[in-house]
Symmetry: C2
Subunit: 732 residues, 2 copies
C-alpha cells in the first residue's frame, strides 16, 4: 500500500514535467474558483457571500514561449477565451485549432481574453507543449512606433505560467473543475410532528436527492448537524424549498425551474447529518438519498496506538479534515464554507501529516491573498494577515518548493506594505476601524484595544518570514530591510509586555501603558517561537499555561497552539490527558466530526449554540482536527529540519502510551515509525536525519552507529531506505 | 429644431431624478464595456486586444438604501447576477422578484455577485426606486462577533451608485448595451481582377451583409478605406473569410458556424469605404450591402459661414466625430478601435462644440483610468496620463458637474501617486523602460530621453488640476500638497528649459544639461497655459510657432494645440489659412473623413502609409476633426468662464470670413451667434456672460448697455434669453 502511493507520487511528478497541461496566470484559477465556492454559502435559503473584497482573474493574459525546433511541428490548440496567435511578432488569421510551427528559433505568443473564467491555454505538440516553462503577463507593454519598430519590453513583468495535474486534457479546462460525487442512502427515517426526519448516521456533505416526487405544492427541507437543529424549522441554519407544479419542479432558493424526473437533486450541496422534510398535502415523495460531494484525497499519513480512544480521535480528525478539504481548505462545512486564513494555516499543518496535498495549500494561499490593491487585512482580520505570512514559511519548510515562493513573493511584498502602512509610532500594529482584531472566540471579555502582545508577536514572526523569503528569492535589499524591521520589533516585545509581578506577558498596552489582563495567547506563541529565554519559558508554563486562573481556551483553534506550546516543552503526558478530556469529550457527546468550539461544562443543546443563534456552532470544523497534527509532530515526533524533508528529525514521545505506529508523508516519500518501550523501528523513503531518544540501557541498532549525548540521551543518523531497528529501554 | 433639443435635454434630466434606473458600481460598466469594445479590434482577421492591463468590474457589490415609508410598499426587483436581500440586517429567503417593504424606517441591502458582467440592480416601487441616491461598496466589512453583534462599518468606503439614462427598464440592463444599426446599400460595384470591388461612396462603419449566398467554398472579403487598400489582398489592414458548406456558413475569423439564411451578416463590424470580394468557383453571391453601426447622437452644435470650403471642413469634421463616437470616443475606426487618452481629450473638446454628450465623456474617463493598482501610464503613455488629468478639469469647466469629480477623485489620487512615485531628484518626470514617451508622430528625429520640457509642462498642469479638484471635493490637505508641488515645478520650468540664444524652450534636458533641439510642443503649451510672460509668448510666436525652420507638425493631433496657441494669441486669420491648406488639403485629396496624419507634400498612395505598412494610416481619425473645436471656441469665440456655462464669454473673430453663424451647446441650453461686419446677434438660453468685440464706430444694442473698454474694444453683458442684436462696424 505505502509503496503504491510512493510510486504514484513519482508518476505524477514525471507527468507534470513531461506532458502538456492547461496553463494560466498564477493565482487566477484560485481566485476564480474561490468566488465560485464562496458563493455557495447560504443562510436559511439566502445566498451569503463574503464581506471582504472578492477579486477577479486578469481578463486578458498573454502566454509566450521561445521555441527552437529541429523540424517543423504541428500543435493542437485549445483555449478558454477569445484568442490570437502571434509567431515572431506576426499575428495569424482567426482562432485556429491547429497551427504549424516552422523549424528554427521562434517566439510564440498566444493572447487570450476571457471575462467569465480565467484565460487558459492548452497546447499539445510533439515537443512544444503548454507547461510551467511558458511565460505569462497581464500587460505586455508591446507597442510599435510610427516606423513599425516594437517597444522595449524588458521592464514587462512576466511570471511562470501556473498549472495543475488536474487539467491535463483538452476536455478538462480549469473552469470544468468539479468535486467528486457518490450516491449514499439514508440510514434511518422517522415520522416527526407533521414531517419526517432522515438520519445519515454521521456528519456528511452533499446534494439531497428526492425520489418519486409527484403532485402540486411546496416541500420544505431543513438541514441539521443535530436532530434538534433539523427539527427546528424556525432556527435551523440551512434549508431549502421546492415547488412542484405538475411536470415541473422549482428549486426556490436558486430560482431554477426544471422538468421533473424520477430523481430530483437539489441544486446546492449542504452539510448535515439529519434532514427534516415537510410537504403540502398535494405532494408525494418516496425516498430521500444524497449525492455525497467530496474531494478525492489519499490518506498518506496514519496513526495507531494501543489506546482506542486516541485512535478514534485520529479517525474523527481525519474525517473532519476530509469533509473540510474541498475546493479549498475551508473552516466549517455547514455555515461558513469560506476560506479563512487562521483556520487554513491549521488545516495546512494537519494536511502535512495526513494528505500532504500541497496543491490545495497553494490554492488557499493564492486565494487568501487575492489581488492588489490590498484594501483590508486577510478576511478583514489582522491576525489572519499574519497567519497568511506564516503559512508560506510552513509550506516551504514541509515542501522545499522555492518556485512557489518566487511566484508569490511580489504579493507578499504588497501585503506587508499594507501592514507597514498601518503601524503606529512605536512600529506596532493596533486595530483601526474596519480591522477585525480576532484572537479567539473567548468565554469572557477580551480587550481588543491598543497594542496586543499577541498581534505584535505574530507581526514580528511575519517580518522574519519576509526576510527568509527575501533571501530565497535573492532579494538582498528586502532581506536587509525586513531583518532590520523584525529585529527592532523583537527588541521591543519584552520591554513593552513583560510584567515582573505577573511573571508573564500582559495581554495589551494602551497609550504606552500595560493593562492588567494576562491571557494565554501571547505567552504560548512566545514559547514556541522561542522569543523568550528558556527560563522565562519555564516561568510561563507555570504562571500561565498550567495556571487555571488564567482564562481558559475553549476553541480547538487556540487549543492547537496551547497544546503545541506544551508539547514543545516536553509535556506530552499532560497533553495526552488534555486531548482525552477535550476531543474525547466531544466524541463522548456523540460527535462524528470535531466542533468549532467545545466547553466541557456546557450541557445538551448548549453545545449547539453560538453567535447568539441556537444552532450557530459548526459541528464539523477544520480547526477541530488538531490531534492529527499533534500526534504526528509531537508523539511520532517527525518533522522537517531542512526544507522539504531533505533533512528530518524524529523525536518520538509515547506520552504514556504503550505503543504507537504511524506514517508521515514527505514530498516524495514517507517516514514510518513504530515504537514501544523496548523497540523503535523507522523506515524513511526520502531524506536523512537523526532519531533522538532516551534509554536507560545502552541501545543497539541494525544499521549505523548510535551516538551518546548527555545523560541518557542518544541519537542515530538515519540515512538509508531500509528499516532501522533500535533496541532500547524506555526511560521513566 | 433647437427648441426641441432644448426640451429633450430637460426631459431627460427630469426622468433621471424621478424614475428608477439600473444602477451599478461607478466605473464598472465602463470597464466592462471597454473590454467588449477593445476586443473587437482586428488586424487581418486576428483578434487584437490592447497591450496594457485590462481591468475588470468588482464581481461582488453591495447596494444599500435607507428608507422611510409612510405605508408598506411592494418593490419589483431585477438583478444582473446572483443576489440576496437583507432588510434591517436580516437575510431574506431566495432571490425574489418582488418584495414588500414594511412601513417605517429600514435599511435595505442587496448584494450581487456577477463574474461576467457588472453586478447591477433595478428596483421599482411607488417611492423606493434604484437611482444615484443608493450607496455601493465592494467590501462592506460587516461581520458579526461570537455574540451576534455586528462590526463597526464606519470605515467602509461607500460610493454613490452610478446610473445612465440608457438603462431605464427591467428589460434593458447595462449588459444589453448595443450600438444602433441601419441597413445601407452599396453605391457602385465593379469587377476587378478575379473579384469585385464595392464602393459605399464614403467612409463608413458596420457589418457587411451578403445576399443570396449559395454553394460550397471560401469567400474572402477585403476592406479598404481606399480602393488601393481593398484591392491589395496581401496588405489591406482588415479582412474576413467565410466558408460555405451546403446549408452552413462559417465566419472564420470568429470561428462561428451558423445556418445559411438569405442574408448573411458578418459577425464583426469594420470600417471601410470599399470592400473587395473574391470567391471560389463553387460559391455564388447576389449582392452586398451593410448594416451601418453607430451611436445615435444629436448635433447640438452648428457652424455655417460664407465660405463653402470651411463649411465642408466643419461637416467632414462632424462626420468624423460621428464615426469615432461609438461605445466610447475612439481614435480611429479602421485600425485601433481603442480608447486613447491623448486622442480622447480632443474628442471631448470637439464634442463640447458638437454633441455635448457628457455621458460618453464620463464613460471614457472611467475606462481610461481603470482600476487600482496603477501599473503603467494611461495607455502606457506618459503624456496620456497627464491628458487624463487635464480632461477632468475640462469636463468640469464645460459641465459644472462636481458630483463626478467627487466620484472620480480617489482614482485621480492613486494615478497621481503613481506619477509622483516615478519622479527624479529634480521632481521631474523622465521616461523609464516600459513608459511610452509619445509626444507626437513626427516627420523627423525626436529625442525622448531625459526631462522633456513638454512632459514637465503637462505634469505641472496636472498637479494644478489635482489642486483644483481637491478644492472641489473639500480636501484641504491635498489642496495644500498639490499647490506646493505644482508651484515648485512651475518655478523650475523656465530656469530648466528657457534658452536665451534660441529665444525658446528647448525640447529636453539630459543629466541636467539643456539639449540643442527646439520643438514646437512645449512652446505652444507654455503659450496657452500662460506659463510665460506675454513678452515671451510673443517671442515664441516668432521664434517657434511661425518659424518654418522648426520641425513642422504633420498630425492633426498636435496641429490642434498649435493652432489653438495661435488662436489664443489672436492669429485667427493665419489659422484660417492654415485650416484651408491642411484640412482643405485632405478634402481636395478626396477625404470623406479626416485623417490620422497628413503631409501636404506626400503624393498619391504615400498618404495611405504609416507604421511601415502601406495602409497603416487611419483615414478616419477623431483627432482630425479639430476644426469643429477651433471654429466654435475661437471663431464663434464661445466658451465657459465659470463651470457649466453659468458664466460664458463670447469673443467672435471672423478671421477673414464675411459672415458666420453657429450654435454652441451648454449643459441645459445653447448659445447662438450670428456675425457679419455690421451686425452681431446672440441668443443664450442658459447662463450669462459678456460678448467682447471691437468696433470702429460706436456700437448699439437692443438690450442692455454696451461698455467701452480700451481703444476700440467694447463689451456687453448678455443676461437674457432674448436675442440680443448689436450694430457695429468691424475693425481690421
Amino acid at each position: 500500500m505505502k509503496r503504491t502511493i510512493f510510486l504514484f507520487v513519482f508518476t505524477a511528478i514525471t507527468l507534470l514535467s513531461n506532458a502538456q497541461s492547461w496553463i494560466w496566470y498564477p493565482g487566477d484559477y484560485e481566485i476564480w474558483l474561490g468566488n465560485q465556492m464562496n458563493n455557495r454559502r447560504t443562510e436559511r435559503g439566502a445566498f451569503f457571500p463574503p464581506f471582504w473584497k472578492m477579486d477577479s482573474h486578469y481578463v486578458l493574459v498573454e502566454f509566450s514561449k521561445k521555441i527552437d525546433l529541429a523540424v517543423a511541428e504541428e500543435i493542437e490548440i485549445a483555449i478558454e477565451g477569445k484568442f490570437n496567435i502571434k509567431l515572431d511578432g506576426k499575428l495569424q488569421f482567426g482562432m485556429p485549432h491547429k497551427f504549424t510551427l516552422p523549424a528554427g528559433k521562434h517566439s510564440l505568443n498566444i493572447k487570450v481574453w476571457n471575462q467569465s473564467t480565467p484565460p487558459a491555454i492548452y497546447v499539445k505538440g510533439k515537443t512544444v507543449n503548454s507547461d510551467e516553462s511558458w511565460k505569462v503577463t497581464y500587460e505586455d507593454k508591446e507597442w510599435i512606433d510610427e516606423s513599425g519598430k516594437a517597444s522595449d519590453t524588458s521592464a514587462t513583468i512576466y511570471m511562470d505560467a501556473a498549472t495543475s495535474n488536474q487539467f491535463k486534457s483538452t476536455g478538462t479546462p480549469p473552469s470544468s473543475f468539479k468535486l467528486a460525487t457518490e450516491p449514499i442512502s439514508v440510514v434511518k427515517r422517522e415520522k416527526k410532528n407533521e414531517g419526517e426526519l432522515f438520519d445519515f448516521e454521521k456528519e456528511t456533505f452533499g446534494f439531497i436527492q428526492l425520489k418519486g416526487l409527484k403532485g402540486n405544492g411546496e416541500m420544505h427541507i431543513y438541514y441539521g448537524e443535530s436532530p434538534e437543529e433539523a427539527l427546528d424549522t424556525k432556527y435551523c441554519e440551512t434549508l431549502d424549498r421546492i415547488r412542484l407544479e405538475g411536470s415541473t419542479v422549482t428549486d426556490e432558493a436558486l430560482d431554477v425551474t426544471s422538468k421533473l424526473t424520477d430523481i430530483f437533486t437539489l441544486g446546492n450541496s449542504k452539510a448535515f447529518r439529519y434532514v427534516y422534510i415537510t410537504k403540502d398535502a398535494g405532494v408525494e415523495m418516496q425516498d430521500v438519498s444524497m449525492l455525497y460531494e467530496y474531494k478525492p484525497e489519499v490518506k498518506r499519513g496514519s496513526f495507531r496506538c494501543n489506546n482506542e480512544e486516541v485512535n478514534k480521535m485520529w479517525e474523527v480528525g481525519a474525517y473532519t479534515m476530509q469533509l473540510t478539504t474541498r475546493e479549498f481548505f475551508i473552516d466549517g462545512i455547514k455555515r461558513d464554507r469560506w476560506v479563512w486564513s487562521g483556520d487554513a494555516i491549521q488545516s495546512y499543518l494537519m494536511n502535512y501529516y495526513l494528505f500532504f496535498d500541497t496543491e490545495t495549500v497553494k490554492n488557499n494561499i493564492w486565494l487568501l491573498r487575492g489581488k492588489d490593491p490590498v484594501t483590508s487585512h486577510t478576511n478583514t482580520i489582522m491576525d489572519y494577515t499574519f497567519y497568511w505570512f506564516l503559512s508560506i514559511y510552513d509550506y516551504y519548510k514541509f515542501t522545499g518548493d522555492t518556485h512557489f515562493i518566487e511566484q508569490v513573493y511580489p504579493r507578499m511584498q504588497t501585503m506587508m506594505d499594507y501592514v507597514l502602512g498601518r503601524t503606529n509610532k512605536n512600529g506596532m500594529v493596533e486595530g483601526q476601524t474596519g480591522d477585525w482584531v480576532f484572537v479567539d472566540w473567548a468565554d469572557g471579555y477580551m480587550d481588543k484595544h491598543g497594542e496586543l502582545s499577541y498581534e505584535q508577536i505574530l507581526f514580528c514572526k511575519s517580518l522574519e518570514t519576509m526576510s527568509i523569503c527575501a533571501k530565497l528569492v535573492n532579494n538582498n535589499g528586502d532581506k536587509t530591510k525586513y531583518d532590520s524591521l523584525s529585529t527592532s520589533l523583537r527588541n521591543k516585545l519584552e520591554p513593552a509586555f513583560w510584567n515582573e509581578t505577573k511573571q508573564a506577558l500582559v495581554h495589551n498596552r494602551l497609550n504606552g501603558k500595560q493593562k492588567d489582563a494576562v491571557t494565554r495567547y501571547a505567552n504560548m506563541f512566545a514559547v514556541f517561537f522561542n522569543y523568550l529565554s528558556p527560563e522565562k519559558q519555564q516561568i510561563i508554563k507555570k504562571s500561565v499555561l498550567l495556571n487555571d486562573s488564567i482564562m481558559k481556551i475553549s476553541t480547538p483553534y487556540m487549543r492547537f497552539y496551547e497544546l503545541e506550546a506544551l508539547c514543545a516543552m516536553g509535556e506530552q503526558k499532560a497533553v495526552m490527558k488534555e486531548m482525552k478530556d477535550y476531543w474525547g469529550g466531544m466524541i463522548r457527546e456523540g460527535a462524528t466530526t470535531f466542533w468549532e468550539k467545545y466547553n466541557p461544562s456546557d450541557k445538551g443543546t448548549q453545545h449547539l449554540a453560538m453567535y447568539g443563534r441556537p444552532y450557530g456552532k459548526s459541528l464539523c470544523h477544520a480547526w477541530g482536527a488538531s490531534p492529527i497534527y499533534l500526534l504526528g509532530k509531537y508523539y511520532l515526533g517527525i518533522q522537517p529540519v531542512k526544507a522539504g524533508y531533505s533533512e528530518f528529525s524524529i523525536t518520538p514521545n509515547l506520552g504514556g502510551l504503550a505503543w504507537m505506529e504511524g506514517t508521515v508523508p514527505t514530498p516524495a516519500g514517507e517516514i514510518k515509525l513504530y515504537i514501544n518501550n523496548k523497540t523503535i523501528k523507522v523506515r524513511a523513503s526520502q531524506g536523512k536525519g537523526y532519531i533522538n531518544f532516551s534509554s536507560k540501557s545502552k541501545p543497539k541498532t541494525n544499521i549505523g552507529q548510535i551516538e551518546k549525548l548527555h545523560g541518557t540521551d542518544y541519537r542515530l543518523l538515519i540515512n538509508t531506505k531500509e528499516e532501522v531497528s533500535i533496541n532500547y529501554s524506555i526511560k521513566n
